[in-house]
């Protein structure tokens, strides 16, 4: 049937024999794309140099890759081969080179994760002379993070916003903030059109209530789905994270997020050296660069160490509750099981892990 060349495609459902020429394209060997890959090809995810170099690419993409890498490569090579450049600048060039060609964090082995973290720490040390503490701690087994927000407790003091900015090294110039506190009129429900998220008067204001939004760490995150380079993903403990070094800054995720949870660095983020939080995580509050997305990570550098996120710790009213959804004795589970909880835009099926409740 398929041995004679046909000009149309036919499913060969009734003939399931191990015919070597069973492919719809009529070829007996690879190349048409419909052959299933052999198992040894998919054994291990490619990483590092392999991700970049060990792929079939057209001449055009090859040129693009080359051009992008040439700038950094030329600099690195000239410095590392130079006889007059010092050891430090050679090391810096070596780090830049390796950072340029490292793989996607999601696909890295634990050693590779540690290696890139070590490089970033060393690079910061070479540039500023200061030492950081950066972690590459993975998600822990039996942990799924969840958050609950008590809208009858929040008084709109915004201590959470301050704590978040300081903890997560957000750009001071653009005053980027992950958390928004919305002041809403009593009796109008969640009316975001009429809510004010940038009030400045004595709070709580008469006849108003307050509710906070931030990244909800959806279990079915639309931002992850639209990312063309898989620079954002959901970790096993439920945190939706971004690899700032893999992000290309297309902002699709920003458009896809129905909760306004994502922020973009329009300019180079700057934090005064003495205000930099040196307790960092690769996926969390390490310094970002211009043109990449960032967002709330439930303070991954804190939460994976067993602490509460900075907003939870800073809240003076106890409106914010954080914990492990898989632990049947956790306080978050008690809230979900005993209070009347709801989530924003539940009908979208994004399954946010951020619940609101009232006293």
């Amino acid at each position: 049937m398929s041995s004679s060349k046909k000009k149309w495609f036919s499913l060969n459902l009734s003939n399931k024999s191990q015919n070597t020429t069973s492919c719809g394209c009529g070829k007996s060997s690879g190349g048409c794309g419909s052959h299933s890959p052999t198992p040894n090809e998919t054994d291990q995810p490619k990483d590092g140099f392999d991700q970049v170099f060990d792929v079939k690419m057209s001449r055009r993409t090859a040129f693009k890759q080359l051009a992008a890498s040439l700038a950094i490569g030329a600099g690195a090579v000239s410095t590392s081969c130079s006889v007059i450049a010092g050891d430090e600048s050679k090391e810096k060039a070596q780090i830049d080179w390796e950072e340029q060609f490292k793989g996607n964090y999601k696909l890295m082995s634990d050693e590779e994760k540690q290696a890139t973290v070590d490089r970033l720490v060393r690079s910061y040390q070479l540039r500023t002379g200061k030492t950081l503490n950066m972690s590459a701690k993975n998600a822990e087994k039996d942990v799924l993070f969840g958050y609950a927000f008590n809208i009858s407790k929040c008084q709109g003091y915004m201590d959470c916003v301050s704590a978040c900015v300081e903890e997560n090294n957000q750009d001071r110039n653009s005053q980027m903030q992950y958390i928004r506190i919305h002041e809403m009129k009593d009796g109008k429900g969640f009316n975001f059109n009429e809510a004010d998220d940038n009030y400045y008067h004595e709070v709580p204001a008469e006849g108003h209530f307050y509710m906070g939004t931030q990244c909800f760490h959806c279990d079915n995150p639309p931002c992850v789905e639209v990312c063309p380079v898989q620079a954002t993903w959901r970790e096993d403990d439920g945190l939706v994270v971004v690899d700032y070094d893999w992000c290309v800054g297309c902002r699709y995720c920003m458009a896809a997020c129905p909760y306004d949870g994502r922020r973009f660095n329009w300019s180079k983020p700057e934090v005064p050296e003495e205000e930099v939080n040196k307790n960092q995580h690769y996926l969390g509050n390490r310094m970002r660069k211009k043109g990449v997305m960032e967002k709330c990570t439930f303070c991954v550098q804190r939460s994976r160490a067993g602490k509460n996120p900075a907003c939870v710790e800073a809240c003076p009213t106890g409106a914010r509750i954080f914990g492990n959804l898989l632990d049947p004795n956790s306080t978050i589970r008690w809230v979900l099981e005993n209070k009347k909880v709801f989530r924003l835009k539940e009908d979208l099926g994004t399954e946010p892990k951020f619940w609101y409740f009232m006293d």
Partner: protein, 209 residues
Amino acid sequence: MKHSYKIIYYLLSVVFLMLLFSSCKHHEGEYHNVNDKIEAEGKHYQGVSVSSEAYIGDIKTIEVTEGEHTFLIPERKTQIKSYACTECHSKPLDKMQNKEGKKAHWDIALHHANDNAMNCVTCHNGSNMDDLKSITGNVIDFNKSYQLCSQCHNKQFEDWKGGAHGKRIGGWAPPRASMTCVNCHNPHKPHFDSRWPARYNTQKVKERE
């Protein structure tokens, strides 16, 4: 001819069923919703390796068991500036109320309920100042002052026991240490003051102009 139609129908139904049971998605959609996921993955919960213990720090705690909840709360007596109260309150109250001698607690004004419902001795024990007392006159330890509050604020008490009211000390990880009522609320003036927000985003104002 009829036979070949049958085959086509058969094939189409097989294809349809295959489409029905196979999803184009990867394995992200394993659960219908996050509640199913919590239920399924939490079934064999084994505990976590991280602990809050280090973050509780120097705060001295005591363990309390209320209903089915057992957790830590900060110890109180050592935090009260002039405990034990009997160091000064050596005589009954009416004998101490005179113009001579040192004044104490003169700055405390009670802004808690109204005069009909509460005065000092609603909570303080006039005959034994080292302890508090319930409405019916039973002794309540200063360390467990929540027992006093919960006499009226029983809804808040239920929420506090479960963890919906109040704050955690340390982190989310076990052991659970929670602040007790008086760590946030001044018992003589329990309502929170209104104040200005911690920050104002001037950049946002510019962007929206």
